[in-house]
Symmetry: D2
Subunit: 381 residues, 4 copies
């Protein structure tokens, strides 16, 4: 059954396989009248593409986006925006010999069972290449959010057990954190880092670790944090389409993500109510109500509180490793051993950053638009 | 905007406020011809209701369910099943004085901002009482699942930092775990425990801790694990409606949940690929393909692998605590102090168990039905 | 699969069978802060219920509505509104003997095939009684519309071949029609008429005809017109959720409706473009653009033009007739003859009026709310 | 808000503007394992494209489809199928001068009001060119249906008041009609006719009339009938997603359609119940239950009866006529006169045929897949 569409009002549908002719996305429900150029989208795709440092796959994907509809004379028209990125010719032959021996940690096996057929080349539909469409749509969402003063930034806060310092957000409380008060500086630091870690020292250590794992033919996991600022209080739709519920779906639905937490997250299991509860106060800056700390991660009862939204995702180590692995041969139903060839990113979190930002931006845009209907009551005359 | 409906084919809509006349649920898309009696649902509601031990609120909710439609001569008809539970008369007066001073950690403030009006009595729509509808719908889902050999069980694995032992599931691998091979024993132990912990020693220590927190006028958080066995490989709908994505949405959308993880979850951030990847083998018992370990928690690429599905959720400490708390008065926009009266559960996880089971059962039922259309191709004659 | 929910933002779910304990509806997505009392809904249910004249079934359904959620201190809270109407005890025995012999023109046969089980009493889920929920939801929709200056009225324009005169709307052009300029007078005339026909002479002849058909043990069909005024230009969501497409779905989905047309409708097949096209002019009254005639029925390209929306529906003669009818016995798979007992409305259109109004009101409310997101673009600062 | 997606399980999203770079469609939810080639789709696009006779626009659209995803080694994979058709370079200049003067009978005016911006070239999104995506998706749907023995055919039954004879379907009863028993002959006759009328004499007269209307600079309307055979009884999802309701939405949502009827349609308004009701009998051919006549058009209570499904749609005369027309200039808000240049089809119904077939095929496919979940109950062991 269909599951390739996400969102309710701002709605995206991605399509495409890793080694097919192209990948793409259709955005339905974008606001009309917004300036939009291919360069707006290209910028984000460039952040996503591989080959940006020595720890990402050297495959030089040009990933040039073309906007095929929904934009006229440089502005969105409110009609569907279709975007396409051609796949470069890549050698599919290494995948051929893995056709009947599902790779551990990959989607090969359940795809085979579900569909009885799959494009096994490069992971087919289950490839990370599918995220091209998400990032392209996210670029459009970010432009809408920017008009509302909303910004989204992600960074690697842990890799292979090494933790970034001085750049964490939520638990200690908003006011302690330079990050949010200086979002642009933080973003610059993240973009400079090949690991996309805002703490340069930790970033250097992480880079070392990644290189060493690659030497071993192995891979490492990590944690990415996503922060969104400027969300108006009240965004979210109880009781099932809560803001945190939709963020969890959006983030858990990215390949390799195995956990999602909001605010204090799993740490809350060891906290007491007196510590976890964020007291309300009157903000000095603008006189609105604002939580004093942000253990809630900007969301209470599924609705934004006005504080920054803070999510963290656990990203598993890349399943494509160079070591031999045990699996089964689906033709003979006997056990087998495979070795995955070619070069693969030894760690995913740095490249996850633009994808996670995109998904959060899409959820926030959708909920921003969903919320607007709540305000439209006009008394009967 | 509407957000009170969950699911695609097996679809539930809950309604009702804590101190309104009733709460309820409509299930649309239930299979026809299935025996269903109020007792099937009542059983689960009885597991959910408060007053079952000295650490849950003494409010004696009878919570008697009535099925108003969709069942004829003891069987489902495939038409919507409407279920209703009348609210007992409860004293709303303690909430009156909190009307303009939002309780920290509760949804009061963002509801007020979003809607401009709210039923403040007992938390209104944001009350845990809303989960009555979820549990009732979950009871129906569980009957469908049972026909397919699928079982769902949840238990408290950590409370206030105390961890249960000998009853963890996924990470060490399936075969190590007596739990799955002896699901019925595990369920019995969980039901016997006032904490719903399968490890009696840990359970006793947890109980002590909860009592002590209550003495302090405070509350404690914990972690609940949910295990589902018998899921056929291939269930799930990429790329957005992945099984883990929908589980994450369903679970994060329960009040007080701040984190969701699948399989190894956040631990995967510190694992290497060679450790995280679950090798495939041929199962001794039935000759099918089965992962040797289950760090994936039963899901790869958003599709079930056939191994048990394992989720864990972080549950925050009850926000209603007896200590004085700082907040603001929304009338005067000045800072204020409140004390929440009445008795409240000092910890949520034990009562979260049937709710989490219900939400997982609903997701699995929906995806089981969604998957069926994948199998219907008939070659053109 | 589930099909009992209608609408996208203003979303209704109906439930209940004719002879079950109750019927009802849950509205999700109603605007907060709107005054709403049971009397607002009761008023419309009273217009719907049978026994209002000698040509409708004498079954005295009290049809008293109770609002169970979503309203607090007399105002909507933005949370789901659950409404319930208890079914009176009615004698189901006449249906028992028809259990295995599907009534011609009724849903009995395909329900049996689809579900393998059905509540055969009084038509079960396929009974016109299901429209109680629609009318209740429509009453809420109408209150929202009233705030936007939108009104909806329906009337019988043809019955058994007798056509009402002097009260047609669209084709001749808006300005010719007293009806729209005097909506309240028209409504009064319609409510006075047992046939709900605005032309008293035609109404009298129709009434005669209906009585005569009843004498014959037969039934007659007719046409109902629905007019909505005050719709802002631009409402509707191309290319599939066009306003006329959603109206067609809503109206064709009412039992007994076999045709839907907008504006000139089927007459347009015999018109030329030079006649059909409505020229635009500047309205004298308010300086806005307005079509000079209204063959389009207020909709172009699936979007409202600002002119009154005009739909017409063909309503088949009541399938429950007193004459013997040929059918099959599903047990023996042999041909059989049945006679339907009890009293049934000899014509449906008069009672269709409030139902059709309700469905149009629901579509318009949903689209009014859907449109609001189109207006929210804020340029990036 | 988004409205460019249609269907629930078999789900299509169209995109593209008339004079933009391309138009296309994404199908999500197609069954895996079905042979699919571009030729399957091209065949239907060739039936749709203009320039097939002297009464359609001479614009030579090549309309070559490319399948970009979802097909591997000649078979569908169950993942989204993206199809694209490049637009040929066409001269947009004639539209430039109409930019501020909305064409009567076109969507120009309400698009301008709704979106504040529109691609005015060739009608932009509201152009009939959008139906390329529908026809492409319909071609895929038809392949699925063919496997289930379901066929869909449409033909022009009335044009400018001239009615085809000897090829009507439903009302007189199935058995009287050679058409259904000889579907392939009927299809051949339809394809031979430039008008797509199965009655050659009527077709010739219609052609004459169309030419004469074109001479006058005018256009004519007509009626298209769509017949689907082989639908299993029980397909459809009450109470809102009834089969007739979804057909009505799908058909009314095609540009230029102003009315939809099922079976006897508007004629039922003048029938008595004793005439309208279709008696059930045991079919001689296969021993199943079958209605003796088919005034119901194959649908009762929103569910298929097993008899052929018969719909008719009223198609308005082409709004683009050569005569001068009155409109307004939106810049000055003053009245204006325009003359539409270029060549336009003087009648739409012949080209509507493949589009209407496509939409009916899409609805039937979606409902066929939706129905499958109804059959999956397995008793608890």
């Amino acid at each position: 059954m269909s599951g390739s569409t996400f969102g309710t009002i701002f709605r995206i549908t991605t399509w495409g396989e890793s080694h097919g002719p192209a990948v793409g996305v259709v955005i339905d429900g974008c606001l009309p009248g917004m300036p939009l150029a291919e360069a707006d989208v290209q910028k984000e795709l460039d952040r996503r593409r591989p080959g940006q440092s020595d720890i990402s796959t050297p495959r030089k994907e040009a990933d040039v986006v073309a906007i095929l509809s929904g934009v006229f004379e440089g502005k969105t028209t409110g009609t569907p925006i279709s975007m396409i990125v051609r796949n470069r010719n890549v050698d599919s032959s290494p995948y051929k010999e893995l056709r009947h021996t599902p790779r551990p940690g990959h989607a090969d096996y359940p795809y085979e069972i579900k569909y009885g057929i799959r494009d096994y080349r490069g992971g087919g539909r289950a490839s990370a290449r599918e995220t091209v469409g998400r990032v392209a749509a996210g670029a459009v969402a970010r432009k809408i959010l920017a008009g509302h003063g909303i910004d989204v930034v992600a960074h690697v806060i842990e890799l292979g057990g090494i933790r970034a310092r001085g750049c964490e957000i939520a638990p200690p409380g908003i006011s302690d954190v330079s990050v949010v008060s200086n979002m642009s500086e933080m973003k610059a630091r993240i973009e400079e880092s090949p690991i996309r870690c805002a703490d340069p020292d930790a970033g250097a250590a992480m880079l070392e670790l990644v290189r060493s794992a690659r030497e071993d033919g192995d891979s490492i996991g990590g944690i990415v944090e996503i922060i969104a600022t400027g969300i108006p209080a009240g965004i979210g739709e109880p009781v099932f389409d809560k803001l945190d519920a939709d963020l969890a779906k959006a983030l858990m639905g990215i390949g390799a993500v195995k956990g999602v937490e909001i605010g204090a997250g799993f740490r809350c299991a060891r906290m007491r109510g007196s510590e976890m509860n964020d007291a309300f106060r009157i903000s000095d800056s603008n006189g609105t109500v604002m939580p004093e700390t942000n253990h809630a991660g900007g969301i209470l009862g599924g609705l934004a509180t006005g504080a920054p939204i803070v999510c963290r995702i656990a990203v598993k180590p890349t399943p494509s490793i160079a070591m031999p692995q045990k699996t089964v041969d689906l033709r003979t139903m006997s056990e087998a051993e495979i070795t995955i060839k070619g070069r693969h990113d030894p760690t995913i979190p740095p490249r996850m950053v633009p994808v996670a930002e995109a998904m959060v931006a899409i959820v926030l845009t959708d909920h921003l638009l969903r919320d607007c209907s709540t305000k439209t009551y006009i008394p009967e005359r």
